[in-house]
């Protein structure tokens, strides 16, 4: 599912789904038919037009860490569906579907890993899982990951791919913003480095909490970075959005991130960042 921008350089959101695996995938940005294996080898960037496809948490982990080094942290037990939420579909059903589609227990996958030999605790969000939204489960996984980094004295690395808070958990989702910042403060007090990697999309309550307060922040080239969605801004204020609004470049120019890096170079960039942040072993 590629991420496109329209002629005014805004993002066009494309529905996410996991189709049965065909051998060929069509790039919805340029129309090209791409051999799936080729696309995978190119880290899900269209070889023709450079459009970024979503990366699953599992693929993202694979693209960043040393082969075989990732060990998932035990997933925590949390209350599911604390509000008993139901819209057109019950939240429990949505959760079940997301789990089946993604192979993840929640919208974030956390574990220990090595990045070019440097041990880290890594958490990767997955937009396919209910928009990568943060509810109690995501908050808990993030906190436990940070606590593990604290105990082990390892840097914490977070890859953001989230539309914001999980609506179906109401105010409890909102309060995860406070919870994850509290855990981040514990890291800061211990002097443990924290690196954030912002990808498509990094918005809402995740950006307005853990996503914005790293010691070092890298934006993936195809990222969307912003608090409010472009459509909400246009509808609420009637403002015309400037070209390139909320792109990684926009974030860099407005002082929000330290670097913008193409996906193919992200692993190397992360290793370079980590190497200046950890003492020689």
């Amino acid at each position: 599912m590629p991420i496109r921008r329209d002629k005014r350089d805004r993002y066009v959101e494309i529905e996410v789904s996991t189709p049965p695996e065909p051998l060929w995938v069509r790039c919805e940005s340029c129309g090209e038919l791409i051999f799936r294996q080729k696309l995978q080898e190119n880290q899900y960037v269209c070889p023709r037009c450079g459009a970024y496809f979503f990366l699953s948490a599992q693929d993202r982990v694979a693209s960043l860490v040393d082969g075989g080094s990732f060990v998932e942290l035990p997933p925590p037990q949390v209350v599911e569906d604390p509000l008993g939420f139901s819209d057109q579909v019950s939240y429990k059903e949505r959760l079940g579907r997301a789990r089946a589609e993604t192979g993840l227990s929640e919208a974030v996958l956390a574990g220990t890993a090595n990045v070019q030999g440097i041990p880290v605790v890594l958490a990767v969000m997955d937009f396919r899982f209910i928009g990568g939204s943060m509810g109690v489960g995501v908050g808990e996984i993030l906190c436990q990951a940070m606590e593990h980094a604290l105990q082990e004295g390892k840097p914490f690395v977070l890859v953001v791919s989230s539309g914001g808070a999980r609506v179906q958990e109401g105010v409890l989702s909102l309060l995860q913003m406070v919870k994850v910042v509290a855990a981040r403060e514990a890291l800061a007090r211990a002097g443990i480095p924290y690196i954030a990697i912002l990808t498509y999309p990094s918005t809402g309550g995740v950006l307005a909490s853990i996503g914005s307060i790293a010691d070092l922040t890298i934006a993936e080239e195809g990222a969307l970075i912003g608090f409010a969605g472009p459509r909400v801004i246009e509808q609420t204020t009637g403002e015309r959005l400037p070209p390139g609004f909320q792109t990684a470049k926009f974030a860099l120019e407005h002082g929000m991130v330290d670097a913008v890096v193409p996906r193919a170079k992200l692993r190397e960039e992360l290793a370079r960042a980590l190497s200046v942040l950890v003492d020689e072993r």
Binding site: P76, V78, V79, D81, P82, L83, G84, F85, S86, D87, Q88, V136, G139, E140, C143, A165, R166, V167, Q168, E169, G170, V171, L172, S173, L174, L175, Q176, M177, V178, K179, V181, A182, A183, E185, A186, T203, G204, G205, L207, A208, S209, G211, S212, I213, G226, F227, A228, G229, V232, I233, T236, T237, E239, L241, P242, F245, F250, H254, G255, M256
Partner: protein, 315 residues
């Protein structure tokens, strides 16, 4: 005659009986007790009868006690601080130093405005990046001076605008949450009206969070939730029910620590009574929190948020 009007008649009758009893030395306690029970029942019925959606309407009333007039009534004195020191000022999120019953505090609050002109200027209480950067600055000044921090929340949410994004409103909200968690003195948040999303939580990472009886606190507006999940804003009422955004529901979820009762018709029917009720609750909580040593305060604050939502809920 609706329930609110019937309630008013009963209250007047009770007051009259009490006056008579006192002036004439009569023992009317039995009659008064009967009346008071009726009043309590009616009051409960009115409040309980309000649907979540009805409370959302109440919480959004522009004449709800809030903003500068409320701060001025609540505090002995207030000195406003302005500006984020980098970009500008924001009339939708205000704050400064205040005296509350003789004690120094710092205060932050949303300003929605009562008149259309005020509302336009304050963007209906939607603060922009400058507002939250200013709030962070004021929190830091308060930290330097070891002042307890009181926040009064009433906002539909943070302002969604191009300039807000260009000045990193997300980072400003995150910085407020972070700064508030580090605050080296008691912190107390009171949700007076609408506690809308990130714009509210930026000021709500407090030791304790209180809420007025008809105020709301939600991750998204019911209309927003309806648009996203039902694909139709007309399902707002249904969304409001699902979101568990009313004071009692929030208390059950552990999202807030206390519900401050309102006058029967809603807080806007009794400005002074609302002020008194909030003042009483605020003073009580600040007094409790001030008795704690700083490391204990920070430990409890961490605990308050670390397990929020993890330990069960309304299931």
């Amino acid at each position: 005659m609706n329930e609110a009007e019937r309630l008013k008649v009963l209250e007047e009758k009770a007051a009259e009986l009490r006056r008579l009893a006192e002036e004439n030395g009569l023992d009317l306690s039995a009659e008064i007790a009967v009346l008071e029970q009726k009043i309590a029942e009616l009051r409960r019925a009115i409040q309980e009868g309000l649907s979540p959606w009805g409370r959302v309407q109440l919480a959004r009333r522009p004449d709800r006690p809030s903003g500068l007039p409320f701060v001025q009534a609540l505090c002995d004195s207030f000195y406003e601080l302005r500006g984020d020191r980098i970009v500008g000022d924001d009339p939708a999120l205000r704050g400064g130093f205040a005296k509350l019953k003789g004690k120094r505090i710092a205060i932050l609050f949303h300003q929605r405005g009562a008149t259309p002109e005020e509302q336009r200027q304050a963007r209906f209480g939607m603060a922009s990046a400058q507002g939250y950067w200013k709030a962070r600055r004021i929190m830091k000044v308060a930290a330097r001076l070891r002042l307890p921090l009181l926040t009064l929340i009433n906002t539909p949410g943070a302002y969604p605008g191009v300039q807000a994004e260009a000045h990193n409103i997300a980072g400003a909200i995150a910085a407020c949450i972070w700064q508030m968690l580090q605050h080296p003195a008691p912190t107390l948040a009171v949700i007076l009206g609408e506690g809308g999303s990130g714009g509210a939580v930026a000021l709500a990472a407090a030791d304790r969070v209180l809420i007025l009886e008809n105020a709301t606190y939600s991750v998204i507006s019911p209309e927003g939730a309806a648009s996203i999940l039902w694909k139709d804003a007309k399902f707002a009422e249904k969304a409001a029910e699902n979101l568990k955004l009313t004071a009692q529901e929030l208390l059950a979820l552990g999202a807030v620590d206390e519900v401050i009762p309102e006058a029967p018709g809603g807080a806007h029917t009794d400005f002074q009574g609302t002020v008194e009720a909030v003042r009483g609750a605020v003073l009580r909580h600040l007094s409790e929190l001030s008795a704690l040593p700083l490391d204990e305060l920070l430990r409890l604050r961490y605990k308050r948020y670390r397990h929020v939502g993890s330990a069960g809920g309304a299931d």
